[in-house]
Subunit: 148 residues, 2 copies
């Protein structure tokens, strides 16, 4: 993982939330994952639909995702940038997912992750998440073979 | 377009920047578009590469995009949400692009847009942009036929 130098306590707390995100993903810890989100969060996920509104809706998405991934998924974070101001913050980074899915399929691809936070009851919670890969409009394919 | 009720002057200013984004896109106004970005901005665009770092790099992307689009492109904004705090803000919305490309091809699809801002010299500038459509991992296709 490549992290920038910390500049503030808020940045440290955002970084800790991103660490939790990675840990929750790799260990399939649904409770830890859901603890990161505000109730009214809006997700633009890498898979359809266009958006998921609300933590309860998105919980179902993570449950389904965890059934698809096996027990040997690893994640690398790269080019992380964090901006904080008052009770609002955002982060963005490239994220590599590699390992074996529950069906035995090997996966290894880079995606882009943007997280937008609000400080609610002294806790930085994700109110918006955007995950994607680029698209080749010539052939309509998602580009899962790009490397930074 | 569907906009939320304004809650602050900062929200009004962010909304104005998004209006400028739409106007610049539809009128292919490169100067207006580039006036929205901070020099050190990072873009996760709908097309490759994984990321574009820096306004000058991203200017080339917009120049190329404008050559692809015809003179009758229209944009609808939907489900816009804006959060502001101190000198940091973010917005997200669904965005419909419809019209005719320069090669005569009709287009009409919804994408997701996240903009992250910093207030620099009293001006809200985009330091991060993330644009995407979801992916169908079953067939590897980008999903450009989804509707909200």
């Amino acid at each position: 993982m490549t992290f920038e130098i910390s500049k503030s306590g808020d940045e440290d707390e955002i970084r800790r939330q991103i660490d939790h995100f990675v840990t929750a993903f790799c260990t399939k810890d649904l409770d830890l994952m859901m603890s990161l989100y505000a109730p009214e969060m809006v997700s633009y996920d890498i898979v359809p639909p266009l958006q998921d509104a609300g933590r309860d809706t998105y919980k179902n998405v993570w449950e389904k995702t965890f059934t698809l991934f096996g027990d040997s998924i690893d994640i690398d974070i790269r080019d992380l940038r964090i901006s904080t101001g008052g009770n609002v913050a955002f982060s963005h980074n490239l994220l590599r997912i590699h390992g074996t899915k529950a069906n035995g399929q090997k996966i290894d691809y880079w995606e882009r992750l943007t997280l937008c936070f609000r400080k609610i009851d002294n806790n930085w919670l994700v109110v918006h998440e955007h995950v994607s890969v680029p698209v080749d409009f010539e052939n309509g394919k998602a580009m899962v073979d790009l490397k930074p």
